[in-house]
């Protein structure tokens, strides 16, 4: 019995001896502007790199995919830490320019495949941030001139509006809106009213024998107003290409209004000011056309329709935002109603959804675009996997991702062709919509391969305290900042990730730049119309 007790004691001791388990590292969160987390990053390139590497390691949602594609994140650490340490070498007093720092980071970050990732890293010597967008660099590198051509040539439908109803390419009905269109309309109409008023005043004074001592100064001001207003009108067409140009135009318009305020009051002409919101990029343009009388076309600059279609109008009915809200409803409504009417009359030829140069946006738009053609109740588009946990390969269970479809009674388009026009600058929701079209039996994709950014991100970096992934740091505040994928989309039965790849069209049609610049004709759009016509 004594021996038995000895054995038991021996075994208990053995248990205690062997029961040590190697523990893991304790990690710091880089989610917020935490002094301790970013302390080393503020004073050392190597410290900044180590913290950035770790933050990426914990937050970036597709490391498995990157490894499949040949990127070894551990090797990046081993290979690049000495390079950053060398920058800290005080004895050599190396001057690190912003370009040097960006080039060094781009050496390994440009390999990333995610289509949304946006990174910002501070140069501790210059105190300036360098921006890195790996997907933009990748697309520019891989797609060459087409990348620039497609972006720079934003098509309009002016040529097709000149054609007759009998022409396949003829846009019988047409309507459009957008903040820039509204701005242009406001400036143009205000200037026109002022010119008319001023010219009438000048004519009246001239008729009365010319200016006298009482109206001389107003008369001179009116004569100056007319050419100034005409100049402003003329500049509209040339000042709408970028948001900076639009902002500058609006600034000029506001100065013009301020300088001529008394004259405008005298002429009883209102000079509405343009809301800052209208000058931003958040208010998209929407175009509708009815080609050949039976092909309903919708184009929009970004997935932000639902903010207007789903929401109540602003209370101030005199505001330009109200006008914009109404116009978006009107233009989209024409597209939707045309489909309903033509379908009911068995006359619908097809539908074209144009997402070229569409940078994506809210999934709330799905019911108003492809979802308006699919049955109510949602569409199981793909699978979703979420980055959860601090481990590089920690993911959530895979869940089906159901996109919302139009909930009210509507025609389901199952027979007539649904064509989606895409290009390299079709990103995110544009690509998810393209996938949806591709999966329909009557769906067809025309254009060039899409951007390759189909995963989704946190709505806001401030969500980090809930999600613990999808971003790190604070933009323009912490030594580095990252906006990285958290929700990974997996497509098809084989659950493939399409980041950095995009969606390949059923029919590859590159934009014919000469055709566009010389004749203002859009060969991609015409390919879609030809396809529907020949169906």
């Amino acid at each position: 019995m004594k021996r038995t007790a000895q054995y038991i004691i021996l075994c208990t001791l053995s248990l205690c001896t062997f029961s040590c388990r190697p523990t893991g590292d304790d990690l710091i969160s880089y989610g917020q502007n935490d002094f301790i987390a970013f302390y080393e990053s503020s004073s050392s390139y190597a410290g900044e790199f180590k913290a950035f590497w770790t933050a990426m390691n914990e937050n970036y949602g597709i490391w498995d995919y990157e490894e499949e594609k040949g990127l070894d994140w551990d090797k990046v650490y081993t290979a690049y830490l000495p390079k950053f340490e060398a920058l800290d070498d005080t004895t050599r007093k190396i001057k690190v320019t912003d370009d040097d720092l960006k080039d060094l980071y781009c050496e390994f970050l440009d390999s990333l495949h995610d289509g949304h990732t946006y990174l910002q890293i501070k140069n501790i010597q210059t105190d300036k941030y360098v921006e890195i967008i790996p997907s933009a660099n990748r697309n520019e590198r891989e797609r060459g001139a087409a990348f620039k051509n497609e972006k720079d040539n934003i098509t309009n439908l002016d040529f097709y509006r000149t054609l007759t109803e009998d022409d396949l390419y003829g846009a019988l009905a047409y309507d459009a809106t957008g903040s820039r269109l509204i701005i242009a309309e406001v400036i143009d109409s205000t200037c026109s009213r002022l010119i008319r008023g001023a010219e009438a005043y000048i004519a009246g004074v001239n008729k009365a024998g010319g200016p006298n001592e009482f109206n001389d100064s107003i008369y001179i001001a009116m004569t100056k107003l007319v050419p100034a207003a005409k100049k402003l009108q003329k500049s509209i067409a040339d000042s709408m290409d970028s948001s900076d140009e639009v902002k500058e135009l609006v600034k000029t318009y506001h100065t013009f209004c301020s300088e001529n305020n008394i004259l405008a009051m005298q002429m009883n002409v209102a000079t509405p000011l343009i809301d800052d919101k209208l000058t931003g990029d958040e208010l998209i343009s929407v175009y509708y056309a009815l080609f050949h009388g039976n092909i309903a076309y919708l184009r929009f600059g970004g997935f932000g329709l639902s903010s207007y279609l789903d929401a109540s109008a602003p209370s101030d009915t005199t505001s330009l935002l109200y006008a914009y809200h109404q116009a978006v409803n009107r233009v989209w409504g024409k597209w939707f109603n045309a489909i309903q009417t033509l379908h009911a009359n068995n006359e619908l030829g097809g539908v074209i959804i144009d997402v070229r140069n569409n940078g994506g946006g809210s999934i709330g738009d799905y019911p108003f675009v492809l979802g308006a053609l699919l049955p109510s109740g949602g569409y199981d588009s793909h699978y979703l996997r979420v980055k959860e946990g601090t481990g590089r390969l920690d993911f959530s269970p895979l869940v089906p991702f159901t996109l919302p479809t139009y909930s009210q009674q509507h025609a389901v388009i199952t027979e007539q062709p649904i064509v989606i026009l895409v290009n390299t600058h079709s990103v995110s929701m544009s690509e998810v919509t393209t996938w949806g079209v591709k999966c329909q039996e009557n769906g067809y994709v025309i254009g060039t391969r899409t951007w390759g950014g189909l995963s989704a991100l946190n709505d806001e970096p401030s969500m980090y305290s809930t999600t613990y992934s999808g971003g790190f740091g604070e933009q323009n505040v912490t030594p580095f900042f990252g906006y990285v994928p958290r929700f990974v989309s997996l497509f098809g039965e084989d659950k493939q990730i399409l980041e950095g790849v995009g969606i390949t069209p059923d029919k590859e049609v590159a934009l014919d730049v000469n055709y566009w610049t010389s004749q203002k004709r859009d060969n991609q759009l015409e390919a879609a119309l030809d396809y529907i016509h020949n169906k």
Binding site: S19, P22, G24, V386, G391, R392, P397, T466
Partner: protein, 224 residues
């Protein structure tokens, strides 16, 4: 896996060559277990990992060198489950990771007491293999706000998931001799894994996660 089975069979054959005066027994056992998952959840405050119940079933053989000392070896299938749930805004995610292991405990058995009722203590080691995983429950996707019911096999990640397992096995129980050749037993069993369920796939970050399983099982043995 095949190699491990071969080793076990060889051990059984060697044991069979031992003196016939020694006592052999074979039997089956089964029961339930409760597994704790040890993980450093770091700063993720609204993540919670709880233990979860599972089952176990085994066939075993035992060779007694003396009336108080035996060598016990088993082939056991068991679950080592744990629950993952989230609180706060992510409330709605609540699922069980069901993990089925095949394991081979080899233990010394120290017994004491009378002929009819004997107490025993098992102490030894085990080697195991993570055969399959399944995730069951609900998952709230914070992107759409939808909560999905999930019940799908876990897809192993070859770079991350550690299939192999090794650790300490031990138990304490009572055996009741029913008739001359038959006995039944109940036992409280513990498996304490030394092997992280995650491979050291990150060179510069150490992240270890372990299972500890307590089970209660009952079984019958035929005593030769």
């Amino acid at each position: 896996m095949t190699r491990k089975i071969q080793v076990l069979l060889c051990a059984l054959l060697l044991c069979s060559a031992l003196p016939v005066s020694a006592q052999w027994r074979v039997g089956v056992s089964g029961g339930g277990d409760y597994n704790w998952f040890t993980i450093n959840k770091q700063y993720m405050n609204n993540y919670h990992y709880d233990g979860a119940w599972g089952w176990s079933a085994a066939v075993f053989g035992q060779y007694n060198f003396k009336d108080w000392l035996g060598l016990r070896f088993e082939v056991e299938a068991s679950e080592r489950n744990h629950r993952v749930y989230r609180s706060g805004m992510m409330d709605g995610t609540n699922y069980i990771n069901r993990n089925t292991y095949l394991q081979l405990p080899v233990m010394a058995q120290f017994s004491f007491g009378g002929e009819k009722v004997r107490g025993f203590v098992n102490a030894g080691v085990y080697a195991g293999c993570w055969l399959a995983g399944r995730q069951q429950g609900t998952y709230k996707d914070s992107f759409s706000g939808n909560t999905y019911r999930i019940n799908a096999p876990y897809e192993f990640q070859k770079d991350k998931d550690q299939r192999g397992d090794f650790g300490l096995a031990g138990g304490i129980g009572m055996e009741f001799r029913l008739v001359e050749h038959w006995a039944m037993h109940i036992e409280g069993r513990c498996y304490y894994s030394f092997i992280s369920t995650v491979k050291p796939y990150m060179e510069h970050v150490k992240d270890n996660r372990y299972n500890t399983t307590l089970g209660i099982q009952a079984g019958f043995a035929y005593i030769f």
